[in-house]
């Protein structure tokens, strides 16, 4: 799996977990699920976009 797919899978599992843990009504659960899931994914993409101008440095040496 790619880095992005793993991040999406992590966000999905975490959002589902907290939506069921913290909310009782289905409508509220869906709302919290979307908030957490989109917050994690969109937040990570936004952070990556902000970090884009910074140099990543030379590649790490292969041991």
């Amino acid at each position: 799996m790619s880095h992005f797919n793993l991040m999406v899978a992590y966000a999905l599992l975490l959002a589902a977990f907290f939506a069921i843990l913290w909310r009782r009504e289905l409508r509220e659960q869906v709302k919290l699920f979307l908030q957490i899931f989109l917050g994690l994914v969109v937040g990570a993409i936004a952070l990556a976009w902000l970090m884009y101008p910074f140099p990543s440095g030379p590649p790490a040496p292969i041991p």
Binding site: H3, L6, Y10, L13, L14, A16, F17, I20, L21, R24
Partner: protein, 136 residues
């Protein structure tokens, strides 16, 4: 519920014996979601079981580390987080699973494994609250 003297008063229906509370907490620790099923929250318990095990399975498929050292402070915390998942943790230890530090996906897998353990710790606390009548 609060009476006129401002004391916390629970109805007999929501109060639980300490044995029930203890059993719910132990079950919640041993098997993810079992505490909720025991307390009558069957659908939620099954959902939690699926989510925690899916997280753990993904972590193991990525060769994430299953901590088992109690030497250094950070490793102790990580071991406690992993052990929070209950029986699956000891089952994986018995099967000889430790993770593979040389795997490219090791760090990702570690995050998933630690998250699975911490999820179950939260379920344990939730089951405790429900058993004591503090939460629905």
């Amino acid at each position: 519920m609060v009476d006129s003297s401002n004391r916390d008063v629970r109805s007999p229906a929501t109060s639980a014996t300490s044995a029930t509370v203890s059993l719910a907490v132990v079950l919640a620790w041993l098997v993810p979601g079992a505490g909720h099923v025991f307390l009558g929250r069957r659908a939620r318990g099954i959902a939690f079981f699926g989510i925690v095990l899916a997280t753990l399975a993904l972590g193991c498929s990525l060769d994430g580390e299953l901590y088992r050292n109690l030497g250094q402070p950070l490793q102790t915390l990580a071991t406690l987080a992993c052990a929070g998942m209950g029986l699956p943790y000891f089952l994986l230890l018995a099967l000889g699973y430790t993770g593979d530090i040389d795997a490219a996906s090791y760090e990702y897998g570690k995050a998933f494994v630690l998250t699975a353990g911490l999820m179950n710790v939260m379920l344990l606390l939730d089951a405790w609250d429900i058993a004591r009548g503090e939460k629905e």
